[in-house]
């Protein structure tokens, strides 16, 4: 168990170019499942690779368990990593793949066998030990990669998009297994992904990254409900948060907060919107509309309305829609940062 910390960590690949990672300060908590979430090119993988020691930082330090490890090679950092491609050694059997880190650390043969058996059992891959990686399915490979990472009982797990090579159905069950696995070992884990569903479902906390900088760190609830800026507001959530710019400020609310009057109780603001298009997704309807009249006239909004709420939407018709007042978020138009709710008239 250990805490991973970065101090002013920066990576510049080419002089004069924008930094891939820019002065990042963050610290995990002990035993935490921390997710780095961001679009491709946001620097999340580079950040992870610097923590692993696979990439040399241009500036700043990495600390693991309170010790500066910036100058240490990966093998001296007490970490284990699962790669996006799993990076299994193709010429070795599953058993020898899992045993490799133990062998590299000079563990005796008897103990090696015992530990490989233990890791294989934990991940339910005992029947695969004699196979070669190419004979395994994607899900099996992912488990072998996890077993290889886990067998050494590292102080920190680093996972680089380990589920992105699995098909959608398998991904959901693998997500659940991974979360359960973390609960059982309680090792500090850093997980990189561009998939917000994975981040929200598994993370104790989420670090939202964009263009090499941290945009927000918080629990899934915090980053989803109280986004720190417009980037976080639109990157999380699908469809993204509705943002209605007005002079100086931007008003925002989630599509699932935009509801027909019958479904809203308490104080709410009122929008008249003309429906342009409706998607029926079985459990909900996604309604695309344009605000009709008022100060936000002509702005596009999206509503997500569960089918359990009785209402019909016809294309071309103007509808009355409400947003509960406590679901409204406001951002500064110039900086994009969250601001206090101003007094504005909605009609």
């Amino acid at each position: 168990m250990a805490i991973v910390e970065t101090r002013q960590l920066t990576k510049v690949y080419r002089k004069g170019q924008a930094a891939a990672v820019h002065e990042i300060d963050l610290a995990t908590r002990d035993g935490e499942f921390l997710v780095f979430l961001g679009p491709s090119g946001s620097g999340k993988s580079t950040l992870l690779r610097m923590i692993a020691g696979l990439e040399e930082p241009t500036e700043g330090d990495v600390l693991i368990g309170g010790k500066v490890v910036t100058e240490l090679p990966p093998r001296a950092r007490g970490i284990a990593m699962v790669f996006q491609s799993y990076a299994l050694y193709p010429h070795l059997s599953v058993a020898r793949n899992i045993a490799f880190p133990l062998k590299a650390h000079g563990v005796e043969k008897e103990e090696r066998l015992e530990r490989v058996g233990w890791a294989a059992k934990l991940l339910g891959i005992e029947h695969l030990l004699d196979r070669r990686p190419r004979e395994l399915s994607g899900g099996e490979r992912q488990r072998v990669a996890l077993a290889r990472a886990l067998v050494r009982k590292p102080t920190v797990f680093l996972l680089d998009e380990p589920l992105s090579n699995l098909d959608a159905k398998l991904r959901a069950s693998a997500r659940d297994e991974l979360a359960q696995f973390h609960r059982s070992v309680r090792t500090t884990t850093i997980y990189v992904t561009h998939d917000q569903v994975e981040a929200l479902a598994m993370g104790d906390r989420i670090v939202v990254l964009n263009e090499g900088s941290v945009r927000q760190i918080g629990t899934p609830h915090e980053v989803y409900d109280n986004p720190a800026d417009t980037f976080v507001a639109t990157f999380l959530g699908s469809p993204p948060m509705n943002l209605l710019p007005d002079d100086g400020i931007i008003a925002g609310f989630r599509p699932e907060s935009l509801l027909p009057p019958s479904a809203v109780q308490g104080e709410a603001v009122r929008l008249r919107a003309r429906v342009t298009h409706v998607e029926w997704l079985g459990s909900e309807r996604v309604v695309y509309a344009t605000v009709d009249g008022g100060r936000f006239d002509g702005k596009k909004v999206i509503a997500r309305i569960p089918v359990s709420i009785p209402a019909t939407f016809e294309e071309g018709r103007a509808e009355e829609l409400l947003v509960p007042r406590r679901q409204l978020r406001f951002f500064d138009k110039a900086s994009g940062k969250r601001t206090a709710p101003p007094e504005i008239a909605w009609q």
């Binding site: 696979l54 090679p73 284990a80 790669f83 990076a87 193709p90 490799f100 880190p101």
Partner: protein, 310 residues
């Protein structure tokens, strides 16, 4: 389905014509390759077999079948046995040196550094330069009087300038020289092949090994080399063929001397059959290359097949 006979008759000749046309085109495209193989490989090969069981000499017109007489005479000659042994020594030593050096070079050339393009070009030079030019250069470098190596060693007081080593004049040194010069020539080829193999290993695999705790040597011997084995096999097999059948370096540097101590099968066949005018015996010598090369070729096909499967 009802189809009238008129329809069938109307369609068929056209289809047949088209089929015939396609077959003709196929034959036309195929024949140059067949012609080339028959004329330049098949005929000489058949001729060599024919000569090896006859009594032909340069300038003679008759042909008399003599059975295995030539082979018997060849097998009894000490020069042949020496050449056979030399061929194996020459090939094996060269390939060991080549593979080790090519590995080191490939590892070095994979790294990014200033002037890598220039270094890559220089390393390739021995391969692209005509072998006769390179060998003649080496002949001067190893010359008994003008050897630049001896001059350097003498200046460093390592050898006596008036009694220097005769690089091409003493049997052991001559063999070593021939081996080293041929290795020098073969290294670029193997380096390029191994470099291709090395760069085809996904970057994440050595990274995973580094995170798993392996240092440079463990990563190299337990991960990189085993993963490169198929491509190393290819390099070795090509190297064996190029070395076993080659006589240029031997011919230019030593002419097989001193006292046949560097003679290899191809050069012996050339000296006996062409320069010595005994075509039949020369043919018999070169026929001895066939079983060895057949084994190598079979191995090559097997490896190519396996590389496809994995």
């Amino acid at each position: 389905m009802a189809v009238s006979t008129a329809e069938i008759e109307g369609v068929r000749p056209y289809a047949r014509r088209r089929l015939r046309g396609a077959r003709l085109l196929g034959l036309a495209l195929f024949s140059p390759a067949v012609l080339y193989i028959v004329a330049l490989v098949g005929l000489p090969f058949a001729l060599a077999f024919l000569y090896s069981v006859g009594n032909v000499t340069v300038g003679s017109v008759g042909y008399r079948f003599v059975g295995l007489e030539n082979f018997r005479s060849v097998l009894q000659s000490p020069a042949f046995r020496r050449a056979l042994l030399n061929s194996f020594v020459f090939t094996i030593c060269t390939q060991v040196i080549v593979i080790v050096c090519a590995n080191v070079l490939a590892l070095a050339l994979r790294e990014r550094f200033r002037g890598r393009g220039l270094v890559r070009f220089l390393i390739l030079l021995p391969w692209v330069a005509p072998i006769s030019l390179g060998a003649i250069g080496w002949k001067w470098i190893l010359d008994s009087l003008y050897s630049v190596i001896n001059w350097t060693l003498a200046r460093m007081h390592l050898v006596n300038l008036f009694d220097p080593p005769m690089w091409l004049g003493e049997p052991a040194l001559a063999m070593a020289s021939v081996i080293l010069v041929h290795a020098w020539r073969m290294i670029p080829f193997s380096t390029v092949i191994l470099l291709a193999g090395l760069t085809s290993i996904p970057r994440e695999i050595p990274e995973a090994a580094a995170v798993d705790g392996a240092g440079f040597w463990r990563t190299h011997f337990e991960i990189t080399l085993p993963m490169m084995r198929p491509i190393i096999n290819v390099a070795v097999l090509f190297g064996v063929i190029f070395t076993f059948t080659d006589m240029t370096v031997v011919y230019i540097l030593t002419r097989g001397g001193p006292y046949d101590s560097t003679q290899v099968l191809p050069s012996l066949a050339f000296f006996t059959g062409v320069l010595g005018s005994d075509l039949a015996e020369g043919a018999a010598i070169s026929v001895f290359l066939v079983p060895i090369l057949v084994v190598v070729a079979a191995l090559m096909l097997r490896i190519a097949y396996r590389a496809e499967v994995t």
